[in-house]
Symmetry: C2
DNA sequence: GCATAAATTGTTAACGTTATCATTAGGAGA
DNA sequence: TCTCCTAATGATAACGTTAACAATTTATGC
């Protein structure tokens, strides 16, 4: 433990409050006194105790970032949003407390929640958290920012249909989260709007990784060779499906179209380059942080509600031209 | 602000300390008293103020994770170590404070540092931080965990040489960090040991991404077509180099061997599958956290020093069989 | 029934800051 | 010289909790 204001007070002969003022209110302590105190501060390596400060000010400059347990900790999506959040907050004097437990939120000035399951969202309503809170996703009576996943999946399915694909399969993510459901909904919407048969057998839900995509692809192409396009709920799934197409002697994009969803910067790595949906995830992290700081510092001026980002279609070589 | 112990004290008629004991030392308060107090706690939604607790206990259960500004916040490497760290710490009741500033470290129980530049490491020695600290990397007089980058790059270069490649180029990462220097050193060591010419013209340092790898590859193959293998300092660089090989009509692995370094789980995505070095990065994050908690909780029993992980060679199809 | 031990609850102070109000010293104005 | 004002510094209490000790009540043994 380092030296405290009291300790310095004994050493210098000045009271603790004068030393505090020297450091925090430069106008109030000048001349010789100031010099002597600053000298002692330096000599004894005084650093203020932020915990004590937090107790007085009733604010910690710490923001709680809740990422639930069941979320793969190496999940790209989560990591990139976190990066955006901590980037913005860091620039504004806040730190991010990464934790997986609810009950620690008393220490912080505000909360950002993400990756919630449908049940989590229900629980949220009953919890009555008193601190400012924003959610990545969408839920009633909570300030939210989200990607319009329904729209995104509609856009890319529309695109596939425009390019002439007709027997379109869907490989989705099996997690019980709104965004996964929304993406499936988008696929269904688009198929219906174009009077295409959304054959239930063409729909697979699985874990979000290339290997699962590969297995799903192998099976779909084996049992339903008439399928001419596979719309995937993530780029990783699509990467696996492309490999499955290769191993099933189906050429991409001629004999089989494949689409992704995410746009997490793997453009140069997956071949052929994916037709996918780009979501500005890092930027959304920044926006979440911005919104939260607004709520903390100007509670009256924030118009609550949900704001959606419309994602962007990125056309690659995994669908016909 | 919620209700405090004092508030509950007035309401219930019991003293603050009795309520505190009811919640923290179940043995000491039983029967009717306990019931009444727990009832009030529930009714008025009391939650303890962890800041005040931290002031008393002089510990916050928060660990500081320092990731410097100049590091790309979406960097895979950083993100995966962080994931390992916060995973382990979370299971042990600690939270991770992600911050990019030095001066906030008084609030925490310990520090984990990573991604330091050579200058950062020098500065570290003069800072004299009093809290328990561990470093991902290696530096004198600090407890460290690191990957043996020299050894790793030697292993993979040795492997390339064994497979018959002779004109071996090196594409490195230009950041001023020990691990980048070490990887270059490993390449040089291996070349010298095999009496091969480590031609300076065959060596390029660039940013760590696929695009830079692509550009480096294009140039190397254009000006020095005799090159028969390109050893890269990361998988992303290698992915770019493979694409450069394709565009330069050089077949991988027959006409050109390519190796990566990282093994960040892109095995299924990059084609052909890379010969690379696998580093258990997530696990290293866990080990860093473990070591730090040991230092915090059993300061006497920790044998300080540097421990190295020997990375693992993963043979793929980007080098000859 | 009394002495003593054990269980229960309370009082005070402490953790390291800062806010509020009080005090002292020095200077300006008459 | 006296009053009043300003500037500089200090004393006390407060933030919400727990530690250490004290006081009270209840139980136990003879």
């Amino acid at each position: 433990m380092g030296i405290t204001l009291k300790g310095l007070s004994k050493i210098t002969g000045y009271s603790a409050i004068t030393i505090s003022r020297t450091l925090n209110k430069p106008d109030l302590v000048k001349g010789k006194t100031r010099e002597k105190i600053l000298c002692a501060v330096k000599k004894y390596h005084y650093t203020p105790n932020n915990v004590a400060k937090a107790l007085v000010y009733n604010r910690t400059n710490i923001i709680y970032l809740y990422v639930p347990y069941n979320l793969d900790p190496t999940n790209q999506f989560v990591l990139q949003v976190s990066a955006g959040i901590s980037g913005y907050l860091g620039e504004h004097g806040y730190s991010v407390l990464l934790s997986k437990k609810w009950y620690q939120h008393e220490t912080v000035d505000g909360l950002i929640l993400m990756g919630l399951t449908i049940e989590d969202e229900e629980n949220l309503k009953t919890l009555s958290i008193e601190k400012p809170l924003v959610l990545f996703g969408h839920s009633d009576n909570v300030d939210c920012i989200d990607v319009d996943n329904i729209k995104g999946m509609e856009m890319i399915t529309d695109h596939a249909i425009e390019k002439g694909y007709k027997k379109i399969a869907f490989v989705g993510i099996s997690e019980n989260k709104k965004f996964t459901q929304d993406r499936y909904l988008g696929y269904q919407n688009s198929m219906q709007r174009h009077n295409l048969d959304a054959n239930k057998n063409y729909v697979v839900f699985t874990s979000n990784n290339a290997k699962s995509g590969y297995l799903a692809g192998i099976n779909l192409l084996k049992y339903y060779p008439e399928i001419d396009c596979i719309v995937c709920s993530s780029d990783d799934l699509a990467a696996g499906v492309i490999q499955a197409a290769n191993d099933s002697n189906r050429s991409v994009p001629e004999s089989l179209g494949v689409t992704g969803f995410d746009g997490l910067g793997k453009e140069l790595i997956i071949k052929p380059e994916l037709t996918t949906i780009h979501q500005p995830i890092y930027e959304i992290g920044v926006e979440l942080a911005k919104l939260l700081l607004k709520k903390i510092n100007h509670p009256r001026n924030v118009d609550a509600g949900i704001s959606y980002y419309t994602p962007e279609l990125k056309i690659g070589n995994s669908t016909r031209i």
